[in-house]
């Protein structure tokens, strides 16, 4: 399981330095060498416009992983705030916040993201908006659940008596206890965001060409499935490896946390 964490960290580093080590310009068009098979110079071959696939994959990591990271962190912030407001705000506030959460959960996340991104028009901005709006509810539920259980703890009551503001109580007394569980949710949502971004890219609602993004690359590659099937393998493989590594490190994190809790 530790190896999964290592792979996940390596992938993140990869997304950061990927563009630096890419051997070619990911958008440089080279029509004479289009759809060329893997060779010594172009390790993974070229696409329909003669662009180097390896370089596009490396640059694409920044889009696919970077956007997924951004979206999952945005969701984390929104969801945590919503959950804490629900937990601290008393019954009517709690009810209202949880019904809003239900509304956003009343729909498969990816389908909702497709509708939102599609209606708002293709582009990175609407992509981020669509995936953030559909990706905060799990955090909210977890934060609320733990928050409610903390509300009657001695130290929270003491902080209230001392006259600490709700914000300070949330910051010092709720957040430290929430963070481990939120991290576990975050790994799952990070993986989902990667899948979501590539799915939207594949449907044509995501990152726009000529930017290399794994889902968009797959969409391009699909047309040439018969002539160069390998071209279709790479972006999909990149998604699978990333999602798998992140999911497994999330599992490891959860196991470590439950073990830590057990003796107490």
């Amino acid at each position: 399981m530790r190896s999964a964490l290592a792979v996940a960290l390596a992938l993140l580093c990869f997304a950061l330095i990927g563009p630096l080590i890419a051997p070619h310009d990911p958008t440089a068009i080279d029509i004479p060498n289009r759809l060329s098979p893997p060779s010594a110079e172009r390790w993974l071959g070229t696409d329909a416009l003669g662009r180097d696939i390896l370089s596009r994959l490396l640059h694409g990591a920044r889009w696919s992983l970077g956007l997924a990271f951004l979206v999952s962190i945005l969701g984390l912030c929104i969801g945590t705030v919503a959950g804490l407001v629900a937990a601290q705000g008393g019954k009517p506030v709690d009810w209202a916040v949880m019904r809003v959460t239900d509304i956003f959960l009343a729909f498969p996340e990816i389908v909702a993201a497709v509708v939102i991104a599609g209606v708002l028009g293709a582009g990175t901005g609407s992509l981020i908006f669509a995936l953030t709006v559909t990706g905060w509810m799990r955090y909210a539920r977890v934060a609320r659940g733990i928050g409610l259980s903390l509300r009657s703890r001695g130290y929270v009551v003491q902080a209230q008596l001392a006259g600490l503001s709700s914000l300070a109580i949330a910051r010092w007394h709720y957040l430290p206890s929430l963070l481990p569980s939120l991290m576990v949710v975050w790994t799952g949502m990070f993986a989902r965001a990667i899948l979501g971004i590539s799915a939207l890219g594949f449907l044509g609602f995501g990152v726009q060409p000529p930017m290399p993004e794994w889902g968009t690359m797959l969409l391009d590659a699909r047309i040439h499935m018969r002539s160069t099937p390998l071209q279709m393998i790479w972006p999909g493989l990149a998604v699978v490896i990333c999602v798998l590594a992140i999911n497994l490190s999330g599992d490891a994190l959860r196991d470590a946390l439950t073990k830590e809790d057990a003796p107490q």
């Binding site: 019904r99 498969p108 497709v114 509708v115 209606v119 993986a191």
Partner: protein, 312 residues
């Protein structure tokens, strides 16, 4: 119990209303002039401003948000989904046609998923940590990481392009459904195996089982009366998630395999900016979702007596 049901129904109603408002607000704030979009879609040419104004009035777009919302929601409550803004034809028959393609596909996917996951999970849980168990867990983890559209493309590549055994595109014959159902089913199987396996393992660890065993209750009877019902509880709750997965998967699968259905209907409607169609799909999906989750909630309460009437 009646209070619980009433609470759940109220919740469902609030959620549905909220979804309707949110959807309408999203479409209302969509960029571009919807009247112009309709005009272009209808006449496929440059149209004079008067015609656009006429379309705007006709579609109720000039009235402001709440009147327009009211004009949409009131007929909807009587089951009238309105007309396509592009073709002018009623939306409802087209939606039902689309549904008649998607529903069997989703059911087949679910069936494939159950057929794979149930034996796999039961075998894996026989000897936790054994090689079969490790394989099942590994397969389930990988399966959960594979996006449906890539899996679909790989299946097409293997069975249609390379081997030439099965047709890939369209939905003309039953054979056309094999690859799409397989794509959906493998994804369902991945998550179902995981949950079923851990449910079975947890059920076997119930503290009272060793006492039964010592008293000579047969292995078979213990599995049937005490392990299976306990393992069923997480499975019931997971059906809500599986439904989400099937709907998400259906959208992607229908695009990949160029099949008619709710997913491709939705994508086409978005691309044509035919908002009444988009609204219809969204509301129907939300209705389906809320209903299924309501049923799951009730079944869950019936199966697990520990969840009382506490939280409605």
């Amino acid at each position: 119990m009646i209070r619980v049901v009433r609470g759940l129904l109220l919740r469902a109603a609030v959620v549905l209303t909220g979804t309707a408002v949110a959807t309408f607000a999203l479409l209302w704030h969509a960029p571009g002039d919807p009247a112009l979009a309709i005009a272009i879609a209808r006449y496929d040419a440059v149209v004079p401003a008067e015609v656009i104004d006429q379309i705007r009035a006709e579609a109720g777009l000039d009235a402001g948000f709440w009147p327009a919302f009211k004009a949409w929601i009131m007929p909807l409550l009587t089951g009238d989904f309105g007309q396509s803004s592009v073709t002018g034809r009623p939306v409802w028959p087209e939606v039902t046609t689309a549904l008649s393609y998607t529903a069997p596909l989703a059911l087949m996917g679910l069936l494939v998923g159950i057929l794979i996951s149930v034996p796999l999970a039961v075998l894996a849980a026989q000897r936790p940590g054994g090689w079969l168990d490790r394989c099942a867990v590994a397969l389930a983890s990988i399966g959960a990481a594979i996006p449906a559209y890539w899996l679909g493309l790989l299946l097409v590549l293997l069975f249609a392009v390379q081997l030439g055994w099965l047709p890939a595109m369209g939905a003309r014959t039953p054979a056309h459904s094999i690859l799409p159902a397989l794509t959906l089913g493998l994804g369902v199987a991945a998550s179902l195996t995981r949950i079923l396996r851990s449910g079975l393992l947890e059920a076997r660890e119930q503290p009272f089982l060793p006492a039964f065993r010592r008293r000579g209750v047969s292995h078979r009877a213990i599995e049937r009366d005490h392990v299976a019902p306990h393992a069923a509880i997480p499975v019931v709750t997971i059906f809500g998630l599986e439904l989400a997965f099937l709907l998400e998967g259906a959208v992607m699968v229908e695009v990949i395999f160029a099949r008619p259905g709710l997913g491709s209907f939705l994508i086409n409607a978005i691309e044509a900016r035919d908002f009444p169609k988009v609204q219809a799909v969204v509301i129907l999906t939300a209705l389906l979702f809320v209903t299924v989750n309501l049923l799951i909630d009730l079944i869950y309460r019936a199966l697990d007596p520990r969840i009382g009437a506490q939280d409605a």
